[in-house]
Structure formats: structure tokens, C-alpha cells
Symmetry: D2
Subunit: 150 residues, 4 copies
């Protein structure tokens, strides 16, 4: 069971307790209700053969930030589970870090939508490398997400 | 420089030489012109907090299989680079493995599109867990993918 | 209130009673549980400036067929309302007609997903011109779709 | 052949000369390089059975505005042709008009991407009803768009 009384702690807990987000080094940069930024640093095991961040890493970071942004805006008993993920890649992610900045643009009783700007940090300057629209379903936390069919 | 004279070897090379696909344990299951299947096995570092495969891992595998499927169908000097990635998640990916089966449904001089069925393997039986449409741009191999702006 | 006791009649009713689908000449070609095909014929007011079917007409037909396919697979009291629409355009829609063939690939208690193949008919032969993935929310018919926030 | 020396005239010409955009009453609201707003007014033949604007009309307007926004940012000899269209519907489009506000977020030599906010106007106030990401291919104007395979 997750505790949503402190939304920053919630996002940090989910990020640290999920094997995949922990393994790619995702770290929470900023959390407000409906807005979450998550970053990770360049490592050889996150790149594709041309030494840019792999598109799958970008997709994963966008997905995670979107889920966190929508969850912070849902009632305390609900968590957002991704049902649709759409990304456009805009430029090579060649920097030393990635930051995904998600904001919830629609939060209803069953569906939430987040828009995510993904930036690559080159010499300390953020450059857009992808943009995403993520669709989530609100599920009861106690039941566990994705346990039942959507 | 990649060698496309043997398309299976090409796909295995790209999968093995890319830090991220190697680190998540992606392995080539099948390669034909325009059709590629890539799998990976369950590991704690690929899961989300509810112990299903993370959506980002599913997205990464779909992206990689799509790129391979389109690249095998392009002329020898060209490689497909993802510019758009869309997934619908259909069911929890709770199995012991994932398989992404991609087929090129459109291959032109500048754009390719692949459709991907992502299955989770539960007790040896494949169950659909996601479906994807991936849009790629054909770029010259020598120039390196994503080097120049799309 | 719509009657779902006869699913073909339901799809024909919704197609005929919706101002837009009627105005573009959409006609029901085939209906089975989870599968619906909807067609329309070429007319000058459905084209873009290069005399192919406009992408918006293709999107509308795909959306309508997807909604019908998912609705036929939902319980009698529920109807599918589109929350996400994704299309890839594969080839110019230059034929004398369009056919959208939708099948429900996931139907749950709150979410449905349909995959749609859109064909253009050239001299009587169907050629793929687009493919779509459509995400729908199941809403109670009596309440009216899209009345409340999703 | 289209004349791009005056980008507002270009957008108005394409909007007026395309059978479909003319038939749905699309009108140009604003044009700057990389930014285009297109609107249309409520009419019975643009609605679905619940009397909201049909999702296909929203998709068409988004597609058209995106194409115009990217085309205004391309070199004079090029026009943007949609290859991918993604929309999330956020709220019922119940107003007296629709406005699609598109901006080019990436423009390269072969690919352009536009982000579109679609608003419904209720008693003169704009409310978001959908958001879109549209992927376009840059093609030579003289060759006609979508003539050759992408």
C-alpha cells in the first residue's frame, strides 16, 4: 500500500521501489500536484549503438513521469496506470542527462492524460528531444494496478 | 558501419552492440525480411512496483523490434530510426518473458511503419499484453542515425 | 436511448443518427460482435486539394468503426466513447471508396481498444491506406456519452 | 502549384481549395510562421448522435491546422503531408465552435512535428477539448503530396 499523504514521498517511493526505474537511475527532480519532473544520467547501458540515449529509455522516463503527475492529481485512494503511450522523437538525445517534465492535462474519475516534455541536458543546457502524450486509467491502490483487466 | 548482407547478423549485432538492449537482455528470436521477433526474460530490474514488466521495458522492446523489422526491409545502405512510437497496453505483463513481434507494414524511400504485437509468456503460453505502431525515418547508415536533425 | 438487442441495427442507427457520419455518407458494410466495417464513397467534398480522400475523413471513418466494434462487444448497457485516436497513413487514398475494418482487441469493464485497417478501393480492389489504434472508454448509455468528464 | 510567398494566403488557399475543409466550414483565424489557428462553427452535420462535435471533425481540424503550421515553417518549395496523427480527447466538444491552434515543434529537412490544442468555444470562452501530436513528411510541392509512396 502506498501512502499519498505526502505526494513527493509517494513519487520517490514508487521510483525507488520499482526495479526498472531504480535500475536506470531515475531520480525525482520536482513534484507538485499534477506536475512531476524525473531525471536520469547518461550511462553506457542506457544508450543505443550510436551512443545517444535509447528511445526506450526516453519512453520509460516519459511514462514514469506521466504516471506520477497524474497520480499526484488523483484522489488519495487512486493511482494512474498507463494504458496508452505516444511519443514523437524530435532530436538526438545526445546529452549527459535526460529530464522528463510531465503535467496532468486531464484528470477525471476513470481517465487521466499527461503531456510530457523530454529534454536532454547538453553542457548544462536543456534541449527538447521528445514529446509525449500519455493516457492513464485510475485504479484503486489497494487492488494493485494492472491486476484486473482494464 | 553495419553490414546488411546478412540481415539476421545485422539484427543480432545491433541488439548486442547497443548498451541498453544488451543490458535488458534482449535476444533475437526470429528474423526475416520485414519481420523480426525480439524477446527478453523476466528479471527484478525490469519490473515495476507491482512486479509486472515495466511499461518502459515493453516500449523499448517494441521500438527495437520495429526498427529491426523496417531496417531489414530497407535498401542495404539505409537504417530505420524511430521518429514516432505509439503503444496501447492491453493486459498486465505478468509472465516469465516478453516477446515483441514486429512486421513492416509500409516501407518507402524516407519513411517506414511497423506494427508490433507484444506478448507476455505465462507458463510457456503467449498472451497479448500490448500493441504498437512505430514510425521510422530511413537514414544513411554511414551518416549515423539521429546525427542530423530529422 | 439506443437498443443493443440487435447489434447490426445499433450500428446502423448510430451511423444514420449522427449528423457527421450521415453527412459524409458512411454506410455499414458488416457487423459481428467485436468486428465492424464501415465504408463511404468518393465525393468532391471529402477530398483534399490533391484529390485524395482527406486525412480527416479517414480518421473519422476509423474512429466511427472502432467505436462501433468496441460497443458491439460491451455489455448491453454500455457504449464506447473515443478517448484516444492514433493513425498512421500508409499510402495516398486515391480510390473510389474507403472501407474501415475495425476489430476490438481488448474489451474490459472501463476501457476498450480497437485496431482498424483502412483500405481505399481502386477499381474494385482494396489497398491499405492507413492503420489506426483507437482507445475507448465504456460509458453507460443512459447517461449519454461524453456528458460527464472522463 | 501553391504560392508560399504569402503564408497567410497559402493557408487560406489550401483551406478553400480542399473540398473537405471547405465543406466543413474551416476558416483561417491566425497565421504566423510555424503557428496556425483554424476554426469552424457548429452545424448539425458536424455532430455525433449526442450533439457534440464528432471526434472525426476534431481530428480533421487538428490535422489541417498542423499541416498548415508545419508548411509555413518549411522552405518555399516544400509542403507538409501528414503521416501520423495522434489525439487525446479531453472533454466533450459541446460549444458553438471549434478552434485548432497548431505550432510546429520540430521542422527538419524531411520531417515536421506539430502540437495542436483544440478548444471548444462555449459562450465565447475557449475550453480545451482535445490535444494532438501530428507527424508530417516534407514533400516537394510540384510533385504533389502523397503522390509517391512515403
Amino acid at each position: 500500500m502506498l501512502d499519498k499523504s505526502d505526494i513527493r514521498k509517494l513519487v520517490e517511493d514508487v521510483t525507488a521501489r520499482s526495479g526498472f526505474t531504480r535500475s536506470i537511475g531515475a531520480r525525482v527532480v520536482a513534484v507538485e500536484s499534477g506536475h512531476v519532473a524525473i531525471a536520469l544520467d547518461r550511462r553506457p547501458d542506457l544508450l543505443q549503438f550510436n551512443d545517444y540515449f535509447h528511445g526506450g529509455v526516453i519512453a520509460a522516463l516519459a511514462d514514469h513521469a506521466a504516471g506520477a503527475a497524474v497520480t499526484t492529481a488523483l484522489p488519495a485512494s487512486k493511482i494512474g496506470v498507463t494504458i496508452g503511450l505516444h511519443l514523437n522523437y524530435l532530436a538526438p538525445a545526445r546529452g549527459e542527462a535526460l529530464i522528463a517534465k510531465a503535467r496532468a492535462i486531464q484528470v477525471g474519475s476513470t481517465i487521466g492524460v499527461a503531456q510530457v516534455d523530454i529534454m536532454t541536458v547538453i553542457d548544462g543546457i536543456e534541449h527538447p528531444c521528445a514529446v509525449a502524450l500519455v493516457t492513464l486509467r485510475a485504479v484503486d491502490m489497494s487492488g494493485g494496478s494492472r491486476t484486473s483487466r482494464p
